[in-house]
């Protein structure tokens, strides 16, 4: 089967077959086909192929219609709804931030690390209610104060962090000298005590709340 070199006309043969050409274009293509054996043959082949393709299995339209659900208009959320969602998201984010800030502050005064031999025998990170600190309680430098669980600090000690650098006696922060306080803060910063997972979790929580309300 030969092929006409006029690609433009061949491109339009399916449109001629389906009567999708305007009058002028149709006349032009038909005129070409009348003089071109290759295009005439191709048009006949297309007609047979179309006939073959269009012989499809019968479809039960009634069964399809019966399966179609009734129309439900989409629920449009008012601007008030969006504002409420935004407010909830803001509260969630703000609350999470406050919690994190408080947690950061809570870590600083409760790091229960002491230097000296007794520190080695103390399990850091175990809470013993009998020795829980109170603001009025004074402890000796060698007494390990009741620890608040702090995995990073425990890890630092376990990793052989310099005890002297981390040495902090328990008690109010006001009891510390400026130098001790400065040392403590430096060490806390170097420990990366803020769990990043919590921050991510908080943001994703806020995001999910926002999305949930946006729906």
């Amino acid at each position: 089967m030969t092929e006409c070199s006029n690609g433009e006309i061949r491109d339009l043969l399916p449109d001629l077959l389906h009567q999708r050409l305007d009058a002028a274009e149709r006349a032009r293509v038909e005129q070409h086909v009348a003089m071109c054996n290759a295009c005439s043959e191709e048009l006949a082949l297309l007609r047979d192929l179309c006939s073959t393709i269009r012989r499809a299995p019968a479809i039960d339209a009634a069964a399809i219609v019966a399966a179609i659900p009734a129309y439900r208009a989409p629920v449009r959320r008012s601007w008030g709804g969006w504002r409420a969602a935004a407010a909830i998201a803001a509260v969630a984010i703000g609350g999470t931030s406050i919690t994190l800030v408080n947690r950061e502050h809570a870590v600083a005064p409760s790091i229960p690390i002491a230097s000296g031999p007794r520190a080695e025998s103390t399990t850091v990170g175990t809470i013993d209610p009998r020795v829980m600190p109170s603001p009025s309680r004074q402890t000796s430098p060698n007494v390990v104060p009741p620890p608040t669980p702090s995995a990073p600090v425990a890890q630092a000690v376990a990793d052989g962090a310099e005890p002297a650098a981390l040495a902090v006696t328990a008690g109010a922060l006001g009891d510390l000298s400026d130098r001790e306080l400065s040392t403590l803060l430096d060490e806390i910063e170097s420990l990366d005590a803020l769990p990043s997972e919590d921050v991510e979790g908080a943001s994703s929580l806020a995001g999910s709340i926002s999305l949930e309300n946006a729906r």
């Binding site: 061949r10 192929l49 299995p57 179609i68």
Partner: protein, 184 residues
């Protein structure tokens, strides 16, 4: 191209959609009757076997369930073909996960057109079907829509998620392959 006729079809579809939204179930019937046969042809031509009915029904159910996402940027039929094609792809993937043979292979010609075999007894048409079965899946999709439905390359590109240029190349390659098969 007779865009006027096409626009009339599109207007009719949009009018029927509006009537169905307003509660006219007869409009849904008319929409199904207007497009079901074309969808069945497409589904059976591009690989659906005994599940042509299911594919067509699922296509309409999905389309009507999400009719508000149809914005009339393409014709309703083009949109329906897009949904049907995605359903067919999903079915192929799930069948593949189940370990069934789903890829359209050249050696699969004898089973590829089961749905059409029952209704096409003519020897010439059987030969044409075998010629089309030699095409790649994409060539067959494009060729079916171009020759069977008379869709423009633009509409085909939207339906099969390709470009107009690629659709044109697929069509001409398919036509050449069919001629070569018939000449052998």
């Amino acid at each position: 191209m007779t865009d006027v006729a096409l626009s009339t079809d599109e207007r009719t579809d949009l009018d029927l959609i509006a009537r169905w939204k307003a509660g006219d179930q007869r409009a849904a019937t008319l929409l199904v009757e207007r497009h079901a046969a074309a969808l069945a042809r497409f589904a059976s031509s591009v690989g659906a076997k005994s599940d042509v009915d299911e594919v067509v029904q699922d296509t309409f159910v999905r389309a009507f369930a999400s009719i508000d996402s149809f914005r009339g940027e393409s014709s309703l039929r083009t949109w329906l073909f897009t949904i049907a094609r995605r359903l067919l792809l999903d079915r192929r993937r799930s069948e593949r996960r189940r370990g069934e043979q789903v890829e359209v292979q050249d050696s699969d010609v004898s089973t590829e057109y089961d749905a059409l075999d029952a209704v096409v007894a003519d020897e010439t048409q059987q030969r044409l079907m075998k010629a089309m079965a030699k095409l790649t899946p994409t060539q067959r999709e494009v060729f079916t829509l171009r020759v069977g439905e008379g869709m423009s390359y633009k509409e085909i590109a939207e339906s099969v998620d390709t470009t107009e240029g690629a659709a044109r190349v697929h069509y001409h390659n398919a036509m050449r392959a069919i001629k070569e098969f018939l000449d052998d």
